[in-house]
Symmetry: C2
Subunit: 147 residues, 2 copies
């Protein structure tokens, strides 16, 4: 099994504000994709769509202001059954976000791509919370021939 | 063991131009850090310095236009003995870069940070080759309280 790991710090934010951006359709649409639908409560499913395809995430754990865990239930076959775990904490003026996309069966080339793409979306989340403006799809940062 | 993986595509580039940016002091200084010194040939050591510290990399394998492999011989203790592997190939109009920073003993918080920071430096490499202008340290993208 292989994991994608990331860490960002969001300045002058609170964990609760970041949590809202990870658990509400409006918040998620502000940094990941305009085309976000569904229900961000535990047991609900969030549907994220992008020009090349999309992901359905079942919300499996929520600790307000601290943690969000999704299980991938729809999308590319390499993603099915993997989990996305967000951990939040306050550290001085920053909210630190520890991100894990866990349980890839193999470190395939698509996983390399998703790792870099997640980093650009995390920077979009940081920008959304710090400035009010993220870069969600379809205005996302293009990293390669794959988008 | 845990690995950091990334993939970018550099438009209208050739693998040889990207290879030059990974094997010459001028090229490396254009996207990673202004403060780059040393010898990029096999058996040589490259010294990269940043405001918070730095890394010494022994060049252990080179395949012109295809692959660059470094072993970390100086820097933070979590980095010592890890390897950084760059694989290049042409894919249509793009040079695809597959990046692996392999052999982390544990998936510590610092590894999460380095994963995101590598992504921003890979985007700097892409920008350098595509536009002539990267974002090397100390003008690098700030991702958190850690820099």
């Amino acid at each position: 099994m292989a994991d994608i790991l990331h860490r960002i710090g969001i300045k002058d934010a609170t964990p609760q504000r970041v949590y809202d951006a990870l658990t509400t359709v409006d918040g998620l649409a502000g940094w990941w994709t305009d085309d976000t639908k569904g229900n961000g409560e535990v047991g609900g499913t969030l549907e994220f769509r992008f020009p090349p395809g999309g992901f359905d995430m079942r919300v499996i754990d929520l600790k307000p202001g601290e943690q969000v865990v999704w299980q991938v239930v729809g999308g590319p076959e390499e993603w099915i059954g993997t989990t996305v775990d967000w951990h939040l904490r306050q550290d001085g003026d920053y909210t630190v976000v520890l991100f894990k996309h866990q349980g890839w069966a193999e470190p395939v080339e698509f996983m390399h791509h998703c790792s870099t793409k997640w980093a650009t979306y995390l920077m979009s989340l940081k920008s959304l919370v710090e400035t009010g403006q993220g870069k969600p799809s379809p205005r996302d940062v293009q990293i390669s021939d794959w988008h």
